[in-house]
């Protein structure tokens, strides 16, 4: 499930928010320009009407002025025109304005009157534009026209802006959030696909949707890189395998010839034991190559075909049975502490091989008279098997290295001890195939403890944002 905070952080969402903010800003600027232009245009229209009227009223004879003013009032059906005639001392003579507006300069130019004019027979005052002009005889003519239309247009434009924004920005943001889910889902898909690759399965590739977008481009680049890495790894592994394989055939022939020599008697004195030693050495070599190829085979083995329900307790019991005599011969107390009644999904042969190797190692590295204990227990996530020995232990710095091919610890283990560290590599390869985990640490009583967690690790879901 995607969390809201994930949405919030995704690149798409961020882009949408930035884009939204710009969109709102530009809308406001645009509407402001429209509003301002409209305002200017309408003001000019009002001004022209007022100027025209004033010019007309001034041009006619003084005697006919009240009559003309009357006519102007009568023609003004919407009641937007106010006019007044005053004596040179400011006394009211005629018209529907009874006082000269205080904020109107007497200069014959048009001025805005935000407070409007006081008009006879009307209570409210509406904003207006007005003019005050002296007639030739010193009388004062005042004319004003309401501009509330302009204000109303402004209101309409503001409303249009609000509605427009809410109808585009809100669905836009919601849509954007929904859209941003898709790339997030694809990132999740890539994350899921990359998990097995990170665990060493280089045959996997990242999903490519085929849309050819940025995510696809990136996935294609990574896939090309993976292809190349896989090819190189394959070559290295191929070379190792070929060497091992090619050497095995002549070695096998060599062994056969030695064997035949031995059978035919060898002739001279002392040749027999020497032949015997040669055969033992060749056998050791062959064994090592076989182990090397086995690891390689296990690493290739990505099938789960051989998996079945396996009784882990029974497997451990069989391994114990196989190695108990060997332990006894070395005077090692070898105990199996298991009350497990659990079945796990595993390849029975490989599981047996893995535990055999671990126990063989534990016995091999425990001193004469030492102790080896196999302890199986049930944990919340699944069964766990601990193999404890009383050997010299593995220094913490070498614990990763011992899982690598051909590693043999320098400390405390005499080279005479058989086994060139391939055993643990085989175990590691088998456990990796199962998705199980192995940990090596110190045993409380000295020696090594190898813990095998027989459950498939839940995919660690590293929050890729973090």
């Amino acid at each position: 499930m995607l969390k809201l905070s994930d949405h919030w952080r995704s690149a798409t969402t961020r882009l949408i928010f930035i884009y939204g903010a710009f969109f709102v800003l530009w809308s406001i600027v645009l509407v402001a320009v429209v509003y301002w232009e409209t305002n200017r245009y309408l003001s000019r229209v009002v001004d022209e009407i007022v100027e025209q009227r004033v010019r007309y009223l001034i041009s006619i004879d003084r005697e006919r002025l009240p009559e003309a003013m009357e006519a102007t009032g009568a023609l003004d059906l919407r009641g937007v025109m106010s006019l007044g005639l005053f004596g040179s001392d400011g006394r009211y003579i005629d018209g529907n304005i009874e006082h000269v507006p205080a904020d109107l300069p007497v200069d014959g130019a048009i001025h805005p009157l935000p407070q409007g004019v006081e008009r006879r027979g009307r209570e409210e005052r509406k904003s207006a534009r007005g003019i005050a002009k002296r007639l030739g005889n010193g009388e004062l003519l005042v004319l004003a026209r309401d501009t509330s239309v302009i204000d109303q247009v402004g209101v309409i434009i503001r409303h249009a802006l609000l509605w427009g924004l809410s109808l585009t920005v809100i669905p836009g943001l919601i849509g954007g959030l929904l859209l941003s889910r898709r790339p997030l889902r694809r990132v999740r898909a890539i994350e899921a696909a990359i998990e097995p690759i990170a665990h060493g399965d280089l045959r996997r590739r990242l999903p490519v949707s085929g849309r050819g977008d940025e995510v696809d481009l990136l996935a294609a680049i990574v896939n090309r890189m993976l292809g190349e890495i896989e090819r190189l790894m394959g070559e290295v592994k191929g070379v190792c395998d070929n060497i091992a394989h090619d050497l095995r055939t002549p070695l096998t022939r060599l062994r056969a010839q030695l064997h035949r020599l031995q059978q035919t008697g060898g002739g001279e004195e002392g040749v027999g034991p020497m032949l015997e030693r040669c055969i033992v050495d060749v056998d050791a070599l062959l064994e090592r190559f076989r182990a090397l190829l086995r690891i390689s085979e296990l690493e290739d083995l990505r099938r789960r075909g051989g998996f079945a329900s396996v009784d882990l307790g029974e497997t451990l019991r069989q391994v114990h049975e196989l190695y108990a005599p060997l332990a006894e011969d070395n005077a090692i107390a070898f105990r199996l502490e298991s009350a497990l009644q659990t079945n796990i999904q595993a390849d029975p042969h490989l599981l047996f091989e893995a535990f055999s190797n671990l126990i063989a190692n534990a016995i091999k590295f425990s001193p004469h008279g030492g102790k080896v204990c196999v302890r199986a227990s049930m944990e919340a996530s699944g069964p766990r098997v601990d193999i404890l020995d009383s050997g010299p232990g593995i220094p913490s710095g070498e614990r990763d290295a011992v899982l690598k091919r051909f590693y043999r610890s320098e400390s405390g283990r005499e080279p005479a001890a058989q086994g060139y560290g391939l055993g643990l590599s085989i175990v590691a390869a088998i456990l990796r195939l199962h998705g199980f985990r192995m940990r090596i640490d110190d045993n409380e009583t000295g020696g090594t403890r190898v813990s095998v967690h027989c459950w498939v690790e839940a995919m660690p879901s590293p929050h890729f944002m973090r």
Partner: protein, 226 residues
Amino acid sequence: MARLLTIEDDAVTAREIVAELKSRGNDVDWVDNGHEGLSRAVEGGYDAITLDRMLPGLDGLAVITALRRAGVQTPVLMISALSDVDERVRGLRAGGDDYLTKPFAPDEMAARVEVLLRRQRAAERETVLRVGDLELDLIERRARRGAMNLELLPIEFRLLEFLVRNSGQVLTRTMIFEAVWGYHFDPGTNVIDVHIGRLRKKVDPPGLAPLIRTVRGSGYRLAETE
């Protein structure tokens, strides 16, 4: 003397197989392709067959499948360069009686063929196995050496049973491990040696003629005194 058929396309390997089997007194025929091998095998008269898994034309799996479908039950040792567990399972499932991976030691190959021949001869159900004065009661799961009862652990009994069933044959450690434990990997040579050593202490107490012998460089053999 047994009549054996070797179906193997690689001349060097074939020479090795034929030489080893002949040196043990067998009569060996060699063919280098699947078609001829199949027709020869069907004609019959062979006691055992070694069959290469990868052959030109008709491959080993097809040969064994056709052979079993034709009702021929001659024991077959599959020999293959494919060591995969899957391959082994497929080979055995198709009707192979044993499976050996290349490269192999000729004596191991011959030992396996001899076990197959023995199995062929002793197909009838026996409930008591005897070698000299050693007696195994398969129903009671009891073993006796002369008048003495042997106290054997279950695993020791299974091991002894395998040795007795193939008495006189050389059995390699790998063969013993595969047959008695049923697993196909290398458990480390001395593990089997220790088990044999333990069994030997019980079966061959001092004073009695030893039955279990070590064959140097190869493995073990259980047999009456020569």
